[in-house]
């Protein structure tokens, strides 16, 4: 039986090795490097908390945190609304429902970089949105200009991400026993009452699960903003993932400072990870 135990571990060993070597150790390395002065070439020099002071004293640090929160929370909120609406719509019985369900998940299945390129073409001065505006006699808008950039990138994230909510809510709806509705109908409940007193309360668990997962993904979204605005203009759309990338790899950048930026925002993500693990996957 002893040998069996060792054999059992062999199944799990590769995954533990992969996670440890290319996930956990690199994360630890980020931590280590955040206390150094120079990372690439030359001697690394321990400089204590200097990088942390630099980051904490820069105004931009607070800007990127607030941008990230605005981007993520508003995108998740709108995605949840659209997802719920479409789930209720496509839970009704009508011909062609199956095709529409499949059609609805296409934006979510499309790669994030492709969706970003789609909207680069749509937001352009000669793009479709401005052609429609000029056609009805309105002036063209600079969708990725300073004023509109944040709503515009949120819209792209929403357009791509809502089907995940739709899929979650739809399976939540299908899990509600039909008998509850039937007995409510006998009691003369209106459609609105059925929605408020039966449907929505029954979606609560699914709602938390999909919102937490989506919040996690949206706060980690790099591709959409990097390609559409590169965090600009005037840092209006600079979020944590994009800012860390530029801090680390743009010209004149500093990898140790970028590392300390990541360590400083880590608690935000750890709280979210804890909530996801606890509520979405039922583990603590």
């Amino acid at each position: 039986m002893k040998l069996n135990r060792i054999a059992d571990w062999l199944y799990i060993l590769p995954v533990l090795a992969v996670i440890t070597i290319i996930f956990i150790i690199p994360l630890g390395y980020t931590f280590w490097i955040s206390f150094q002065e120079k990372a690439l070439g030359g001697e690394a020099k321990f400089i204590g908390l200097t990088n942390y002071y630099t980051i904490l004293n820069s105004k931009i640090f607070y800007v990127i945190i607030s941008n990230t929160l605005i981007y993520s929370f508003s995108a998740v909120f709108i995605k949840a609304l659209i997802g719920l609406g479409v789930a209720l719509l496509l839970n009704r019985k009508f011909p062609g429902r199956g095709i529409l369900r499949a059609f609805s998940i296409i934006p979510w299945a499309a790669p994030a970089f492709a969706v970003a390129f789609f909207f680069i073409l749509l937001y352009d001065l000669k793009g479709l949105f401005n052609r429609i505006l000029t056609y009805i006699g309105l002036p063209a808008l600079r969708y990725l200009g300073p004023e509109l950039a944040m709503p515009s990138v949120i819209f792209v994230n929403v357009w791509k991400g809502w089907p995940f909510f739709f899929l979650g809510f739809l399976s939540g709806l299908q899990a509600i026993p039909q008998e509850i509705y039937e007995s409510a109908e006998i009691d003369g409940a209106s459609r609105f009452k059925k929605l408020v007193y039966i449907t929505l309360p029954n979606l609560k668990t699914v709602f938390f699960t999909v919102c937490l997962l989506s919040l996690m993904w949206t706060m980690g979204d790099f591709t959409t903003i990097y390609l559409l605005t590169g965090g600009g203009p005037l840092d209006r759309t600079l979020t944590i993932p994009v800012a860390s990338y530029f801090k680390a790899f743009a010209s004149g950048a500093s990898i140790p400072q970028a590392a300390s930026l990541l360590i400083l925002v880590l608690p935000i993500y750890l709280i979210l990870i804890y909530l996801v693990m606890k509520y979405a996957y039922g583990r603590t």
Binding site: I12, I22, I33, P111, L170, T223, L227, S244, F249
Partner: protein, 288 residues
């Protein structure tokens, strides 16, 4: 309110909903598809419908002289297309191999510390990968795999392996034990039971996990950016962004056509597994 009137009312509401849904999802796809069929001359003021629809933008992508003239850094689009495909296929194969073994362990074996092992894997699954861009860039350069596709594959494995493990774990846990048990009684080893009994009847779970791994790798931009630098190693997102310069599109048709091409494989794959997407992503926490 009379019954008939109410029914009609609902139908109109449903119809309006359907129409809005089709427009909301369809318009962006339509516009890009339309641009991809628009000829070079018309691209400067694209029409709602192309007057002379042409496939030239697609052909030009694979025509060395044209593509090279556009995006001076790669010969033609075959290179990036092959790079993306090869990377995604190898990532898929490796994460399925490692993921199957680990998921079977988590779903079926009992040993001390298993809950910690599950937590460790779940932690890696939910952790946002962008945190790894700095250390993986350094580590992969250190082991001299910087600017290679192998380096990129390693980076992708950091998040596809925990992902496929977690999906398959949920799937294996939902499967009845009886068939396996009888195979074990008949003298099969655990590994034979997994290989000969469990895997053949797990096709939907395996296909779902494989498709997720493939698309996670295919969709990646950030690790391609931090690991690759030579144009011959470029994957699709890097190659497509060469059709832009300083935030301005200068090859409308090619940008549209290449984006459509990059979109087709993941969309086709997801449509195959749409039933399993939600239960897969939530590790069985929400049933599909």
């Amino acid at each position: 309110m009379p019954m008939v009137e109410r029914k009609l009312n609902i139908t109109i509401l449903t119809l309006v909903g359907i129409l809005l849904l089709i427009l909301f999802v369809g318009i962006p796809f339509y516009w890009v598809f339309n641009l991809s069929l628009t000829s070079e001359e018309e691209a400067y003021s694209p029409k709602l419908f192309p007057t002379n629809p042409t496939l030239n933008n697609y052909f030009d992508l694979f025509n060395p002289s044209k593509a090279a003239a556009r995006a001076a850094r790669f010969e033609n689009f075959t290179g990036p297309l092959v790079n993306s495909t090869v990377v995604a296929l190898i990532v898929t194969a490796l994460s399925m191999l490692i993921g199957c073994l680990a998921a079977y362990n988590l779903a079926r074996f009992n040993y001390r510390g298993k809950s910690y092992v599950s937590l460790y894997i779940l932690f890696a699954y939910v952790f946002p990968p962008f945190f790894l861009m700095i250390p993986l860039n350094i580590v992969i350069n250190m082991i001299r795999l910087g600017d290679t596709l192998i380096g990129l594959i390693l980076a992708h494995l950091a998040y596809t392996v925990p992902f496929s493990t977690w999906i398959l774990r949920g799937y294996f846990m939902g499967m009845p034990k009886d068939i396996e048990d009888s195979a074990l009684v008949d003298g099969c080893s655990r590994f034979q039971a997994l290989w000969r009994v469990v895997l053949p009847i797990s096709a939907p779970g395996l296909v779902t996990a494989a498709i997720f791994s493939f698309t996670l790798s295919w969709d990646d931009l950030i690790f391609a950016l931090v690991i690759l630098s030579k144009a011959e190693n470029y994957t699709l997102p890097l190659a497509i962004s060469l059709f832009m310069q300083g935030g301005e599109v200068y090859a409308w048709g090619e940008l549209a056509a290449s984006t459509i091409l990059a979109t087709i494989p993941p969309v086709a794959l997801y449509l195959l597994i749409q039933k399993y997407v939600i239960s897969g992503l939530t590790g069985g926490a929400i049933k599909g």
